[in-house]
């Protein structure tokens, strides 16, 4: 059974903390993504990576950074968490090429207080 695993289902952090969200996939996918999900806004792409050490900004990269040191792992970093980063974060992975299916993790609901 294919899997994308996010390190935490729920997370509460304080304003100003550095936050790491981890994502691991076991499908040997080249592509990995971090999305943010907010009510009424759908899923918005924060960053994505198409290879180890490669990363590209998505639509809302401000306040975030990412790291991909190994093919199976893609980390999202909030350098200094703020309350407006309270949200659901979804990690996904896929094979390269048109029309490939994306596989998602179970999501991390982050609350910044």
């Amino acid at each position: 059974d294919v899997k994308v695993t996010q390190s935490s289902r729920y997370l509460v952090k304080r304003t100003g903390e550095k936050v790491f969200l981890e994502c691991v996939q076991d499908m040997d996918h080249e592509n990995m993504f971090w999305y943010r999900q907010d009510p009424g806004l759908g899923l918005r792409l924060i960053y994505f990576s198409y290879d180890v050490k490669m990363k590209e900004k998505g639509d809302i990269p401000e306040g975030y950074s990412v790291s991909r040191e190994k093919k199976e792992r893609f980390s999202l970093i909030l350098e200094s968490a703020s309350t407006n980063q309270t949200s659901m974060y979804l990690c996904a992975s896929s094979s390269p090429g048109r029309g490939t299916e994306a596989f998602f993790g179970q999501g991390t609901r982050l609350t910044v207080v």
């Binding site: 592509n31 759908g42 792409l45 994505f48 996904a92 390269p96 048109r98 029309g99 994306a102 179970q106």
Partner: protein
């Protein structure tokens, strides 16, 4: 830039009935893929159905089918014989292929409630 619009934030349907979720999109591309993803209360997002723009025939997967109107840039999802397990958030998505990789552009979602 590609955009995806879902104009129905919430819908409700009785068990065993049929419901149609709407999606429109905008692109200047000629060949592309469109998807419907389902996110149940468990939050695990899964693929429901996929459509390639070059294919004339509408995609079907068991009780799920699409009505793909390329000229109108419309991509609606029909769920037949609705079941309680169909209760979920449904997202329409466009496959934005940029050469090096492809990424999904999502609509804002439709929350479907199936009533017993």
């Amino acid at each position: 830039a590609q955009t995806v619009t879902q104009s129905q934030p919430e819908m409700s349907v009785q068990e065993a009935e049929t419901v149609t979720l709407s999606c429109t999109y905008d692109t200047s591309e000629n060949n592309y893929y469109l998807f419907w993803y389902k996110q149940p209360p468990s939050r695990q997002m899964i693929l429901v159905i996929r459509q390639e723009a070059y294919k004339q025939q509408n995609a079907t997967e068991n009780r799920f089918s699409v009505n793909f109107q390329k000229a109108a840039k419309s991509f609606s999802l029909k769920i037949s014989d609705s079941q309680l397990g169909d209760t979920a958030m449904y997202f329409c998505a466009f496959d934005d292929y940029g050469g090096a990789t492809n990424k999904l552009i999502f609509g804002t979602g439709t929350l479907l409630a199936v009533q017993p």
